[in-house]
């Protein structure tokens, strides 16, 4: 417990993995493919949140928000990027046992994902 004292919440972002940084940079609206995660009655909510945190490097609040969106709405767009990037994410999600598909971003069906990441209002620690 005491080992983490030196690292306050403000250092969180700089200590995240490489995947985290690159994925977050991809959430620009002009990139044309979406990674969609679908709900199923088997995967644990804690596990889905863990996957979002550990693989994408999302903070806990964002990971939980996306996880709940999957649970309640049946699906959620959890990442954007080029076709190759989201396909790579899809394989990784299938490796974790999550049900992921890739789709072209049409602009119309954003599955409630519009300005999703901004909703946390920059709350920290």
């Amino acid at each position: 417990m005491t080992l983490s004292v030196a690292l306050g919440p403000d250092t969180q972002e700089s200590t995240q993995t490489g995947t985290a940084v690159s994925t977050d940079a991809l959430t620009a609206p002009d990139v044309p493919w979406n990674l969609v995660i679908w709900n199923d009655p088997v995967n644990l909510m804690s596990y889905v949140s863990y996957v979002f945190q550990s693989y994408f490097g999302y903070p806990e609040t964002k990971a939980n928000k996306l996880m709940l969106e999957v649970h309640r709405k049946g699906r959620s767009i959890v990442a954007h990027g080029s076709k190759e990037q989201v396909e790579q994410h899809a394989v990784a999600m299938h490796g974790f046992g999550l049900w992921a598909t890739v789709e072209k971003a049409t602009g119309g069906d954003s599955g409630g994902g519009k300005r999703g990441p901004g909703k946390g209002k920059g709350k920290r620690g």
């Binding site: 417990m1 080992l3 088997v42 804690s46 863990y50 394989v91 299938h94 490796g95 046992g97």
Partner: protein, 188 residues
């Protein structure tokens, strides 16, 4: 009785009775045998070497289809193309995690490194996905129904036995994931 995984100074540790180890060993082995590609003598060795599988088809078994799902919704052709490029390595990585978790069962005390924990969590998840298909869990109501089955003295048929096994692996995975989330917090 098994003890829940917990996160402490040594990392993530847990305890399982011999009978529980044996159960998990056979569950991991079952899923490995589902995932091992069928033997194809005529396969192009160069394609195999770079991970391509041009003979691949969407699995007919529902449980296997859940482990290796289509990556493009409502587009069989695009999903098949994706399978040709990725399914072989996906099968191999899943088998790798299941084998690693099974090997870990040989030791008396379960002390998991971060890599062990990742293998265990995906291996348990794949086992649960397969059991859930066998139990016909289609929605949250089905899951709740299965979840109510907690008493081993009630195990009278294959279905109730499977439900108990499913609930045991669910409990084990939940405790592992909680410990993994704690270890993420500590690293952040």
């Amino acid at each position: 009785m098994a003890k829940a995984f917990k996160y402490g100074l040594k990392g993530i540790s847990g305890f399982l009775e011999p009978a529980e180890r044996e159960l998990l060993r056979s569950l991991f082995a079952d899923v490995i045998s589902m995932l091992e590609p069928s033997d194809r003598g005529s396969e192009d060795p160069l394609a195999a070497m770079i991970g391509l599988d041009m003979e691949v088809r969407e699995p007919s078994d529902r449980a296997l289809r859940r482990l290796l799902p289509n990556a493009v919704k409502d587009d069989a052709a695009a999903s098949l193309e994706f399978r040709q490029l990725t399914e072989r390595s996906l099968r191999e990585s899943k088998i790798g995690a299941l084998r690693a978790a099974a090997l870990g069962l040989d030791k008396d005390e379960l002390v998991l490194t971060p890599a062990d924990a990742r293998h265990w969590s995906t291996a348990l998840n794949d086992v649960r996905l397969v059991l859930a298909e066998r139990l016909d869990i289609r929605d949250e109501a089905d899951a709740d129904h299965v979840h109510q089955m907690q008493d081993w003295s009630q195990a009278e048929d294959v279905e109730s036995y499977l439900a108990l096994v499913y609930n045991f692996t669910t409990w084990l995975q939940e405790s592992l994931v909680q410990a993994m989330l704690q270890s993420l917090d500590k690293r952040a």
